[in-house]
């Protein structure tokens, strides 16, 4: 309990500090938002306290002991997916570019059925704590786990920086709190959730936030639609009349980001396969009791996420209509929306629900970031402790207590690194980071995972060389592409013309893995191919699966 009061104190000091120094760029202290934020923090710390008492073994820590139900897990997966980037980013994209935002939404969603048909139950049947458990099931532990941990950590760190910078800016605008304090506050909160409460607390924080966010956006959409007599056509007509693009916001546009066929196909691939390679999403499949619950969780997740995206489209159109310099001058500074397009949903919440609702949505947006970074951190920490420490360094002989200690230390280190990088990248263009994270997930993690489940002739050599080729190609093409080469480094023309490298890097990974596997004629390769039989039986039936519930 002492810890909680110290935390409260830090938060109060931090909020108080925000008020005097940042008045020039920020809003007044938002009292309802702060009250609701404290209610959320209080509730989640209570949950963490409860979860900490139940978290004893490594399995409790990494996977909540496998005791999460399909419905709860579906909610938590939806929560992971409804990050600040999709809530604020997608509604902002619809606000700025109309329909283009929906193309992303559709791409993010269709990954889910594919994950269900190809991966979900197999992940549950083969995995234990991390997705490397599956890839390393019959392949070389040392090589595969090192590569997988590297892939996981790259994705986690990139995602974490993007979330941290986003959270700092968001909190700065919402609560009138200085950027550094905001980032440090997020870092401390997430370390507390994860080190004390492990996966159980992380999951429940995510579930609560998902419920709050879904209720919030539903209310917003309801208010918008009610003022247009629940006619989408009436709302759309008003949006077309208001937006400077006119009718062009009603369809995918040449003015938007998806301008050529290669980009469109490549983006589609990155969104779909990237999801199936995100370590913090994959690990959620180990928190349910069996394959049946794993499948159910995808159905619930797809339902919630799909509903969320449909509602976001309405919110984006509502923002176009309500947030104009004429209708809502208080949100504009020099003709620009205060805080940029990403703040559209937040400002809109004040228009439709007043200060109290603005407070609610602000607190939910903060909660969203906290919940997502907690999941990311846990995924990163398990890659370090379970894959690197326990299986590579100790060759699988580490004792459980020690492994847990290492993971808790890893959580603290990742938290501190996240805070430092979050502060360092404050003024950098970080838009490429989530794209890069998806590209790496799709090009390195996904091909290895997918082929290890389905392709009997996969060998360690093929996975390591091909996976590395995929990783290197993804990173290189993002750096040489327009986003980094032109946008960050300031060169005139990109060397690689496409913003989304997935089409090339995913192909390179699959071809590399295939070629270096079939040319591997070693004895070890032959053993690995023979071991596919037992692995395949377990993946199909779940016999012998970790923590399996006997029927």
């Amino acid at each position: 309990m002492r810890l909680i009061s110290i935390l409260g104190l830090i938060a109060v000091v931090a909020f108080a500090g925000g008020d005097a120094t940042f008045e020039a760029v920020q809003r007044d202290l938002n009292i309802p938002a702060i009250i609701m934020f404290f209610i959320f923090v209080g509730a989640t710390l209570g949950i963490t306290y409860w979860a900490a008492k139940k978290t004893k073994s490594a399995s409790d820590f990494y996977t909540a002991g496998g005791g999460i139900s399909g419905f709860q897990n579906g909610m938590a997966i939806a929560g992971d997916y409804m990050s600040a980037a999709s809530f604020l980013g997608l509604s902002g994209l619809v606000y700025l570019q109309g329909y283009d935002g929906l193309v992303y939404a559709v791409g993010f969603l269709v990954g889910w059925p594919v994950i269900l048909f190809l991966m979900a139950e197999k992940l549950r049947n083969l995995g234990k704590f991390t997705f490397a458990d599956i890839a390393a099931y019959r392949l070389g532990q040392k090589e595969i786990r090192t590569l997988a941990a590297f892939g996981s950590l790259s994705v986690v760190i990139l995602y974490l920086i993007a979330q941290m910078v986003g959270s700092g800016k968001l909190i700065q605008v919402l609560f009138g709190l200085p950027y550094e304090y905001a980032v440090i506050l997020v870092g401390i909160m997430m370390i507390v959730y994860v080190t004390f409460g492990g996966m159980l607390a992380t999951t429940w924080v995510q579930i609560i936030k998902a419920v709050l966010l879904l209720s919030g956006v539903t209310f917003m959409a309801f208010m918008i639609m009610s003022s247009y007599g629940f006619s989408f056509e009436a709302l759309a007509t008003e949006a077309v009349n208001t937006h400077s693009w006119g009718q062009d916001i009603m369809a995918p546009s040449d003015k938007g980001k998806i301008t050529d066929p290669i980009s469109a196909i490549s983006l589609g691939l990155a969104l779909m396969l990237g999801t199936a390679g995100l370590p913090h999403v994959l690990m959620r499949f180990f928190t349910v009791g069996n394959a049946k619950e794993a499948r159910k969780s995808v159905v619930y997740a797809t339902g919630f996420i799909g509903y969320f995206y449909l509602v976001i489209a309405i919110i984006g159109l509502g923002a176009i209509v309500y947030l104009t310099p004429e209708n809502a001058p208080e949100f504009f500074v020099d003709g620009e929306l205060f805080g940029g397009g990403n703040m559209a949903a937040i400002h809109l919440s004040k228009v439709v629900g007043g200060d109290i609702f603005l407070g609610f949505i602000s607190a939910v947006a903060f909660a969203t970031i906290l919940a997502v970074v907690s999941g990311l951190t846990l995924a990163g920490a398990s890659a370090i402790s379970h894959d690197i420490y326990s299986n590579v360094i100790c060759k699988g002989k580490a004792d459980e207590a020690k492994e847990m200690k290492v993971s808790k230390i890893s959580v603290i280190i990742i938290g501190i690194v996240g805070v430092i990088l979050g502060i360092a990248f404050e003024h950098q263009n970080i838009a490429f980071m989530v794209g890069l994270a998806f590209a790496i997930a799709a090009s390195a993690n996904f091909p290895i995972l997918f082929l290890s489940i389905y392709w009997s002739k996969l060998t360690t050599r093929g996975a390591v060389i091909g996976g590395s080729i995929g990783l290197a190609t993804a990173v290189l093409l993002v750096i040489l592409g327009p986003v980094v080469w032109v946008g960050v480094l300031g060169n005139a023309k990109p060397i690689f013309p496409y913003a989304y490298p997935a089409l090339f890097s995913v192909s390179a990974a699959f071809i590399g893995i295939w070629f270096f596997s079939i040319t591997d004629k070693s004895q070890r390769a032959a053993d690995e191919i023979r071991a596919f039989g037992p692995q395949s039986v377990r993946s199909e039936t779940g016999f012998g699966a970790e923590g399996a519930v006997d029927h």
Partner: protein, 105 residues
């Protein structure tokens, strides 16, 4: 899972039935979802105007909206269809295989 037991299960006709039925079913649904999504992406890539056609002459709403909503809703329905069969028929088969090899598990 040792090799001997794995071989025994793989010889079980119910196992063969399970794997072949489920693989075919998952592939069918998967290809359906991918075809639907990539048709959409390819229309955006090559013929954006098609999605810009209005639902009615007088209005502003285009086909792009029901198409996006439709893909999202149909994707959800495919997950329902898969899980209904997997949690019923396929799990029953799995349990019956389990009964056959219970002595060795």
């Amino acid at each position: 899972m040792n090799e001997e037991l794995a071989n025994r299960i793989q010889e079980n006709p119910k196992y063969k039935e399970l794997v072949s039925k489920r693989t075919k079913f998952a592939l069918k649904l998967g290809i359906f979802v991918l075809a639907m999504f990539y048709t959409y992406i390819l229309v955006i890539a090559f013929n954006k105007e098609l999605l810009g056609i209005k639902l009615s002459e007088a209005g502003v709403t285009t086909w792009a909206f029901p198409v996006a909503a439709g893909i999202i809703i149909i994707s959800f329905i495919t997950t329902l269809i898969y899980v209904r069969r997997a949690n019923g028929e396929f799990d029953d088969l799995t349990n019956s295989i389990k009964d056959d090899v219970r002595d060795a598990l």
